[in-house]
């Protein structure tokens, strides 16, 4: 014989699992996010503080003392960095590579997306193949292009065919030209991402607006510049920001292809910091460097990217006026 009230109270207690009891002193929303918070705390917040501390003291693991016993030197590390040509060059080089690579990836991605927009025989097949490079780990891509640009390798052989004679240029040891195979490798690997994003963007455009433009007399060219591209701006912006964010950190490809060489002529920020930080053990110095890079990235995004978009608008208008004449 069961007392109804006990049955009910048993029901209620059944639902109180472990997490519900946890929920008594912490709302569920917080407890769910706890693991991520903990992980980020240890992997991001604490290291950040340590990094700030390191950047303001003089410390290397070879000093033999704990980091909190290191001598406080204020901004000296930062000043040293700003006067270190190798660092500045690495800095500039990285942003140069970033600018060129992202722009080309974007143009290629957009161009391909436009070409793929209307159906043609084999479209699905080609689209699938064209995104292949993105599936390769950067290290393998670097390795691959290292082999391709080998002095007696296939790329040179092809150039040789075109030029009519043997072409045995050692790209990766060349002071002026080593940077190009690196850029080509990056572009090869990441243009598919831009391609996919642009396809997604184009498909997301409101079809009736495009039809209306047709009926109102717009040519495909006009419709592209005056309606499609402007409406794609937000997506383009996302794509470029995200791509830039990742490529500033590029390491694998350069490491495998040139290790930053010849000498230091293809050193990117990451390579420089890796060498000085982990080979020369100048932890403090490099910590400061990392902060400079971070701040510079933020500044670039806020002050360069927006004006860039404005320039793109002006550029578009010029193109249309040109087309009208």
């Amino acid at each position: 014989m069961e007392n109804p009230s006990t049955a009910v109270s048993m029901e209620l207690t059944k639902k109180e699992g472990l997490l519900e009891r946890l929920g008594k002193w912490m709302p569920l929303s917080l407890s769910l996010i706890m693991p991520v918070e903990v992980i980020l705390l240890f992997l991001l917040i604490v290291p950040s503080f340590i990094s700030i501390w390191l950047s303001l003291v003089s410390w290397q693991p070879t000093f033999g003392i704990g980091i909190f016993q290191a001598k406080f030197i204020g901004l000296k590390n930062f000043i040293d960095l700003f006067t270190e040509p190798r660092f500045l060059w690495a800095f500039l080089r990285t942003f140069y590579i970033t600018g060129v690579t992202v722009s080309l990836e974007f143009l290629i991605g957009l161009g391909l997306a436009v070409l793929v927009y209307k159906p043609f025989p084999g479209r699905t097949f080609f689209t699938l193949i064209l995104i292949l490079p993105m599936m390769f780990p950067p290290l393998v891509v670097g390795n691959n292009f290292y082999m391709l640009f080998f002095a007696e390798g296939p790329i040179n052989a092809l150039i040789g065919y075109v030029l009519g004679g043997p072409f045995k240029f050692d790209w990766l040891s060349s002071p002026s030209y080593a940077i190009y195979p690196i850029m080509i490798a990056e572009i090869w690997q990441w243009y598919p991402l831009m391609f996919l994003i642009m396809i997604s963007g184009l498909r997301g455009l409101p079809p009736n607006q495009l039809r209306a433009a047709e009926v109102l007399g717009g040519s495909p060219w006009q419709i592209f510049w005056r309606i499609k591209l402007p409406q794609l701006k937000p997506i383009i912006l996302i794509a470029i920001v995200i791509r830039t964010m990742e490529i500033i950190k590029m390491f694998d490809v350069v490491y495998i292809m040139t290790r930053g060489g010849p000498g230091t002529l293809t050193e990117t920020i990451s390579i420089y910091m890796y060498k000085i930080g982990l080979k020369n053990f100048r932890f403090s110095y490099i910590s400061a460097g990392a902060w400079i890079v971070l701040i510079a990235s933020v500044i670039i995004f806020t002050y360069l990217l927006k004006p860039l978009l404005y320039k793109v608008e002006k550029f578009e208008e010029k193109i249309e006026e040109g087309a009208e004449e």
Binding site: N208, G217, R226, Q231
Partner: protein, 368 residues
């Protein structure tokens, strides 16, 4: 007035679905034509073929005596106003209006002049530089119409343009559209599923159902002389009443009576018409609610009905009733506003003889 637009055997097939079947029409210059029909009847597809956004599977479209089938949309002298207006969201009102002129590479100053002029006509002057994403549907619609007017095509196509507006805006805009068409003097083809709209706007109505043309005539003629059951039932604020009935010969007269023998109508005067059309056995009496009136006992063709429901609408009342022995069917009549019978009352009614339609049930053709 010559023929502006001719549709010849126009057909559109999507895989298994025949969206438009063998449409043949002549539209005269300056006419206001409505394509009317329920969803899926093919009216929007036809519009798309006319504008050039869809290619016909078969048939020809002839504008001003020139075949335009293979011309792309932008080369046709036709404008289209979309149901959702399709205003370019990345441009302001001015740029939307100017679009067709810029496409034609008209000079900047000329564009400015024309846009400002037309903006005045549509009361858009105050918001010329506004972001189009902040506009109300009413404003958006005027921009949509305005930019098409600036395009200055010789035929305007409109795809249910009033559908997105509230009821009162709809009625206002109806009048404005009619006035606009008269001002411009251009041919307009207007697609809608709202029969009242079509009746009030059109010079002639094209009624379509399931891809086929049902009737093409003036509103008055369609109302008074529907050619088939679909048209008869579709047109009219309240649906037409359809009563199954039969014919018999009695004392030299042709008598129409319903299954339960609640009424008998002498339709001898229509004998010629009926005999020449060879009707089937299944007949149907069609009478509009507005043509059913209260009757007195003395009238021969009266019949008794039971009241099921009354709707008091203010300007008139709608009475739902059943004939004797009927159930599950709704019949309607309209009565003056003072008349408010009670439910389950029995009253006498008669059908106004001149307004009776006789339909062949099977073939759906109207005989009277």
């Amino acid at each position: 007035m010559g023929i502006k637009l001719r549709l010849e055997n126009l057909t559109k097939v999507f895989g298994e679905l025949v969206a438009v079947k063998n449409l043949n029409l002549d539209i005269l210059d300056g006419e206001f034509i409505c394509f009317l029909g329920p969803s899926g009847c093919g009216k929007t597809t036809t519009l798309n073929m006319l504008s050039g956004l869809e290619e016909p599977t078969e048939g020809r479209i002839i504008l001003d005596a020139k075949v335009i089938n293979h011309l792309p949309a932008r080369l046709r002298d036709i404008g289209l106003i979309f149901q959702d207006y399709a205003i370019f969201e990345n441009m302001n009102v001015y740029e939307n209006l100017a679009f067709s002129l810029r496409a034609k590479k008209v000079h900047k100053d000329e564009i400015d002049r024309v846009v400002k002029e037309e903006a005045g006509r549509f009361q858009l002057t105050g918001m010329l530089y506004k972001d189009t994403r902040t506009l109300t549907p009413g404003d958006l619609q005027r921009v949509a119409i305005g930019r098409t007017v600036i395009l200055a095509p010789s035929v305007f196509l409109l795809d249910e343009p009033l559908d997105n507006l509230d009821a009162d805006m709809r009625i206002t805009m109806r009048g404005e559209l009619k006035r606009l068409q008269k001002d411009l003097g251009k041919t307009m083809v207007y697609v809608t599923h709202d029969q009242e709209e079509a009746m009030s706007l059109a010079d002639r109505i094209v009624i379509m159902n399931l891809g086929e043309l049902q009737q093409f005539n003036t509103p008055v003629n369609i109302y008074n002389r529907p050619t088939n059951k679909f048209v008869a039932g579709f047109i009219g604020k309240l649906p037409m009443n359809f009563i199954d009935c039969h014919l018999k010969e009695e004392a030299g007269k042709l008598i129409l009576f319903d299954t339960n023998q609640t009424f008998q109508l002498d339709i001898s005067k229509h004998r010629k018409r009926i005999e020449s059309s060879i009707p089937g056995k299944e007949l149907c009496l069609g009478i509009r609610p507005e043509h059913v009136s209260m009757a007195s006992v003395s009238e021969k063709d009266s019949c008794e009905v039971t009241i099921r429901n009354i709707e008091v609408l203010g300007a008139e009342n709608v009475v739902e009733f059943n004939l004797k022995g009927e159930s599950g069917v709704v019949r309607r009549m309209t009565v003056p506003p003072e008349v408010i019978p009670n439910v389950d009352d029995r009253i006498l009614i008669r059908f106004q003889q001149e307004k009776i339609h006789l339909l062949d049930h099977v073939k759906g053709i109207v005989l009277i």
